[in-house]
């Protein structure tokens, strides 16, 4: 089917569903959002289904998951891994060693010893070898992609990684997912800082001979890569399309769409482009103060912003540490501004997290918590709003990445 015919077909199906009540079987939106206002692509070689649910460990809230197929490079020995977290706040594919049944190809340093990475997230780090895989998601393929295999036991965690004080995310109970699909603004997880030796190297990449791991300089193309940037087509970014959520739900389904303006189902349309500053951040203004370290991140599981003193939102305390527990649902209005001057108002709601968590649901549109001097627009921001993430250096119909658009 040509892209044009596909669009017409999708439109007719949507129209038929809008005119009848019998589309529950063909539509996957059964648990939430009967009236989505944003279009969600349902088919195409560049469309991977997303499910927001409690994840493979059964305890996740506001996590978006997809399936990813990895193959031993150049072979048909492949494995499809479900429940991989879609994360626009990081770059690169990371898979639990315990979820892999095939052996990928180890990357070795110039000295011929295994390359292993320590990547800090917020309260956790990932540690494990850098290996090469062919990656396929929906109909999109990338060959020989450096990915990270998460394991604390294949190589001893070095002091430089332990000195972050964080806990390991290398097991299913800790990660709550089988892996992380980092499809953020950047093409590599570290960039040029890691490619240079010396005091400016942040120390993410190690080589690990039997005598112990040492920090190395890791070239850009050897670093863990945004696999989307390496696809043969539709490689300039992604769209996350999730319908609106009007009440807590057990599951929500939507789409991860590859490419921006490359097919009939991924046009930028009326979305506004917000370019980040050099650190990958927006400026968010709230109550007259501006916070220039704000960002949009599908891998954050709520709206995280400022503190109870500034917002007036009560902290939950030790029972649900890191979330807000206001006595009633509270509406917050802020203004986002990109480095390109684009600006727009964002309205969010924050409910009592302890009340939300007392139900056995996993999809919450009004989950929030504190974060110092910033707004972190996490997964709830994506509900009812198609969010574009364009990769650095990639040409799109909305200009050259990096940018967000919504």
């Amino acid at each position: 089917m040509s892209p044009g015919k596909l669009a017409v077909f999708t439109f007719l199906v949507g129209l038929a569903c809008a005119l009848s009540t019998g589309c529950g079987g063909s539509s996957s939106h059964t648990n939430a959002a009967p009236n989505p206002t944003n279009p969600v692509a349902q088919s195409g070689n560049n469309v991977a289904p997303i499910s927001v649910n409690s994840g493979p460990a059964g305890s996740y809230v506001d996590g978006a998951f997809v399936s990813v197929t990895v193959c031993i490079p150049g072979t048909s020995t492949c494995q499809t891994i479900s429940d991989v977290l879609v994360d626009t706040g990081s770059t690169g594919l990371r898979l639990l060693s315990s979820a892999l049944t095939i052996s990928l190809v180890q990357q070795n340093s110039a000295a011929g010893t295994p390359v292993v990475e320590c990547l800090p997230f917020l309260n956790t780090y990932t540690w494990g070898p850098v290996q090469s895989a062919d990656v396929q998601i929906a109909g999109e393929k990338a060959g020989s992609v450096p990915v990270q295999v998460l394991s604390d036991t294949d190589f001893t965690v070095p002091a430089g990684c332990k000195n972050l004080g964080l806990t390991s995310a290398d097991t299913l109970p800790a990660l709550g997912a089988n892996g992380i699909l980092g499809v953020g603004l950047f093409a590599q997880d570290c960039g040029s800082a890691c490619s240079l030796a010396g005091s400016t190297n942040p120390g993410l990449y190690y080589e690990c001979p039997a005598s112990g791991c040492q920090v190395i300089a890791e070239g850009l193309t050897q670093q863990v890569q945004n696999p989307v940037a390496l696809f043969a087509s539709d490689n300039n970014g992604v769209i996350i399309e999730l319908p609106a959520v009007s009440a807590p739900a057990a599951t929500l389904t939507g789409s991860l769409v590859f490419g921006i303006g490359t097919q009939s189902n991924n046009a930028l349309g009326t979305a506004t482009v917000y370019t980040p500053n050099a650190s990958g951040n927006l400026t968010t203004t709230y109550k007259g103060a501006s916070y220039n370290t704000s960002f949009i991140d599908s891998g954050s599981n709520g709206y995280f912003f400022l503190d109870s003193t500034i917002t007036g939102l009560t902290d939950c305390g030790s029972a649900e540490s890191g979330f807000y527990c206001p006595s009633s649902i509270t509406n917050i209005s802020a203004t986002n501004q990109g480095s390109n001057g684009a600006s727009g108002t964002v309205n969010i709601s924050v409910a009592n997290a302890a009340t939300l968590f007392s139900q056995n649901d996993s999809v919450f549109s009004d989950l929030g918590g504190p974060a110092p001097n910033m707004f972190d627009f996490g997964l709830p921001f994506f509900f009812g709003r198609n969010v574009f993430t364009a990769i650095e250096g990639k040409s799109t119909t909305g200009g050259t990445g990096p940018y967000w658009a919504y």
């Binding site: 460990a57 305890s59 996740y60 809230v61 996590g63 977290l85 706040g89 990081s90 770059t91 800090p120 997230f121 917020l122 309260n123 956790t124 430089g160 000195n163 972050l164 004080g165 806990t167 800790a174 990660l175 709550g176 980092g182 953020g184 950047f186 570290c190 800082a193 010396g198 005091s199 400016t200 190297n201 942040p202 120390g203 993410l204 650190s279 990958g280 951040n281 370290t293 960002f295 991140d297 891998g299 954050s300 599981n301 709520g302 995280f304 503190d307 003193t309 500034i310 902290d315 649900e320 540490s321 890191g322 979330f323 504190p370 974060a371 110092p372 001097n373 910033m374 972190d376 996490g378």
Partner: protein, 140 residues
């Protein structure tokens, strides 16, 4: 750290010498500014991360803030408070899973850490040692 010339291997809760030890550890440059109740020693680390150390009029580091593309060496910065920090993180790693900013609020230690890959922001302070005129929002 037997054998080094630095009298302290700590910053939070430490004295001015520990700030100098941090500067050396980060291979950075240092700039000092003075507020009413404290001085701020800002260390620009070689890897691009900036650490600000808040020193009271009694000469003690009562708070830290950091910002940059990578996390600083938390063991170095938190010193004797590192074990409490690491234990608090470990104690939170149950229950509802999800990636979110780190918030530690305990007697004697508060730590917050947020951001994303290539942009981390955080602060740590000793609530009991904050000058009475200084709120957490000043630590940034």
């Amino acid at each position: 750290m037997v054998g080094t010339s630095f009298p302290a291997w700590a910053a939070l809760g430490g004295d001015i010498a520990s700030v100098e030890a941090d500067q050396v550890h980060m291979q950075g440059t240092r700039r000092v500014t003075t507020a009413a109740a404290y001085t701020v020693h800002e260390i620009q680390g070689a890897s691009g991360t900036v650490v600000r150390e808040y020193v009271s009029s009694e000469g003690k580091v009562f708070a830290l803030a950091w910002q940059g593309p990578w996390l600083p060496d938390m063991r170095q910065l938190l010193g004797t408070y590192f074990d409490q920090y690491a234990a608090a993180i470990k104690s939170q790693s149950g229950g509802r899973i999800g990636r979110r900013p780190l918030v530690i609020e305990q007697p004697g230690l508060a730590v917050e850490l947020a951001g994303h890959s290539r942009s981390f922001i955080g602060r740590a302070y000793i609530p009991e040692q904050m000058p009475s005129s200084v709120g957490a929002e000043a630590i940034r």
